[in-house]
Amino acid sequence: MTALAIATFAEEGPYLRARVAAVAAQRRIVGEWLPYASEALGEGEGERGIRAAAIIVGVIGAVGLFALTTWSMMVAYPLNVGGRPLWSWPAFIPAPVEFGALAAGIGGIAVLFRNARLTRLHHSAFEWDEVARASQDAFVLAITCDAGEDANRVLALMANAGATHSRLVGA
């Protein structure tokens, strides 16, 4: 049975070293938990679609409200206000611009929830105390340790990188 070696690091440097060592040793990284958004993360999974959603939903919101404005002022409620044209488009711009920004925020957070798999209040990772530490002050890395393998070697890989604590789980 494959076990997991889970280690905590007090600082980013040792965590990154352990990560590099794990990849070099062809270990599968099962999970990583960080106390802040490290710049070393770079671009990757999680970002996809957020900007696009914000732009698309924002534009739809703005154009939609402008269309509603135009329709309501020209068709549904064509009121003559001091002889101004029914389609007073400059005066119709402020509301759609504001609403478009709000719609962009809503579109963006919807994709954040999807990409980050939020709303999952229960997750097996929460059973490990180390994961709770990650939201406080620690970097946490979990890698595989195959059955029959010398677990001490795997744990040593973490310790050599500077782990403050490591252990095997699920063995």
Binding site: E47, A95, R133
Partner: protein
């Protein structure tokens, strides 16, 4: 002095007392979870609640007896309600603007101030939103401002500045809530995972939505935070530009000026920053956050207040110059009235608060002196409040038609409603300080790690 004089070191934005990531978490989360509220908090909360109650009573009386209880008259129809609205939304604009601008320009010092500045935005905009509703005359029909199919077949009048305000306030408030929440998510997880009351940990757990801090989550959160910051900057500018257009789109002397939108945006930033300084000084001391809100923060905010004060002075000068250069008799009359008319002492006081007082910040030592920071910030807030009142009263008291000239005097009910919103704002801030981390823990952790790395 707030602390040691500002000396450029590798650790500019945190003090050496904050050495580890855990120190940051402890410093910010401990006042919430490990300590009781304390006597000062309760006294402040009771005081704020009493003020809020008084304001609510004044609003109740106004609903019962009508706007005749206010100082508004047939000429000065906007009076206190619109002036207070503009003042509050100005303060409200600064939080999100400061936070998003500093995020986009990668200013590391934002980490310690962005959270409470954003909270200030939410509470100030909430207070601002009350005034247009009160001023409607028939506040029970405020929802008519929203477009919805109805049996009367009525639609909002989209050409009206009132409808623009409705969309500006609602959109800005909800957008700011989302922006605030996105930044807060990782810190909610921190509170969920700290030892403490089971009840509150559950509440924080639900609010954290299962945040774990995986790379995927951090990337998504960072990307959305920056995307929203990029949207927030033009949004904030547009919101206060719309407030400026409430005036500039009219045909009144002293108001029909193209400078109004940018002038209002700078004024909003200016007053909001003064409020941020006051809040920062208070929470730094009350919550023992001296390690993460340091003299350098006040130094840089004082510089911004100084720069904004200069821009405000230039804006006032541009107004006077436009009136003189344009040669329109009514415009010139308004400018003369500002300096010599009924409200002239307030106009001079406004110039003192908004233009003269910030000049103290040319002196480096004064930028980190707590009494001077408090004095100048209060002067700016009072000055900006006077400006909002005077924009309305100076123009409307002495418009184009002499038979329509009226002076304006606010009533006790006007003042009580304003006091109620001040109480409400303070009460919301106090509750926020007890329930949520007032400083962004994950961003300060990153800052501490970076500064520690630079020291090596």
């Amino acid at each position: 002095m707030i602390g040691a004089h500002v000396v450029p070191t590798d650790r500019r934005w945190t003090l050496p007392s904050i050495r580890t990531l855990g120190d940051v978490t402890d410093a910010v989360a401990a006042p919430l979870m490990d300590r009781s509220a304390g006597r000062a908090w309760w006294l402040a909360a009771i005081g704020a609640a009493v003020l809020t109650g008084i304001g609510a009573l004044a609003v109740g009386f106004s609903f019962w007896y009508g706007p005749g209880l206010w100082g508004n008259n047939t000429a000065v129809v906007w009076g206190f309600p619109i002036a207070n609205y503009v003042w509050w939304i100005g303060i409200g604009n600064a939080g999100t603007l400061i936070s998003s601008l500093l995020l986009l320009t990668r200013q590391e010092w934002r980490a310690s101030i962005n959270r409470f500045a954003e909270a200030m935005t939410l509470f100030a905009v909430s207070m601002a939103g009350l005034f247009p509703i009160l001023h409607l005359g028939r506040p029970m029909y405020f929802y008519w401002l929203a477009p919805y199919p109805n049996t009367l077949q009525l639609w909002p009048q989209w050409r009206s500045a009132l409808v623009w305000d409705f969309w500006a306030i609602v959109s800005y408030l909800l957008f700011s809530v989302i922006f605030f929440y996105v930044g807060l998510l990782p810190d909610l997880a921190t509170l969920r995972d700290r030892p403490g009351s089971r009840f509150w940990r559950r509440i924080y757990g639900v609010a954290a939505m299962g945040w774990q801090g995986t790379p995927v989550q951090w990337r998504a959160q960072e990307r959305l935070h920056r995307t929203m910051a990029a949207i927030a900057v033009p949004l904030v500018c547009s919101v206060h530009s719309i407030v400026g257009l409430d005036f500039a789109a009219s045909l009144m002397p002293g108001w029909t000026e193209s400078i109004f939108p940018p002038y209002f945006v700078v004024g909003a930033f200016f007053s909001g920053l003064a409020m941020v300084v006051l809040i920062a000084l208070t929470i730094r001391r009350a919550m023992e956050l001296e390690g993460v809100i340091v003299p350098a923060h006040f130094d840089v905010m004082a510089r911004l207040i100084l720069a904004s004060g200069i821009v405000m002075g230039a804006s006032y000068a541009a107004e006077w110059f436009s009136a003189w250069w344009g040669g329109e008799a009514a415009d010139l009359r308004v400018v003369r009235f500002e300096f010599t008319g009924t409200y002239a002492p307030f106009y001079w006081a406004m110039l003192l608060g908004n233009v003269a007082a910030p000049q103290l910040f040319w002196a480096r030592r004064l930028r980190t002196s707590a009494p001077v920071l408090v004095g100048v910030s209060v002067a700016v807030l009072v000055g900006m409040w006077l400006e909002r009142i005077l924009i309305i009263t100076d123009t409307l008291s002495i418009g184009y038609e002499p038979s329509f000239w009226r002076t304006y005097a606010p009533t006790i009910v006007d003042f009580l409603i304003l006091a109620g919103t001040l109480g409400g704002f303070l009460l919301l801030l106090l509750i926020f300080g007890r329930l949520l981390p007032v400083v962004s823990m994950h961003e300060v952790r990153k800052l501490v790690a970076k500064e520690a790395e630079q020291q090596r």
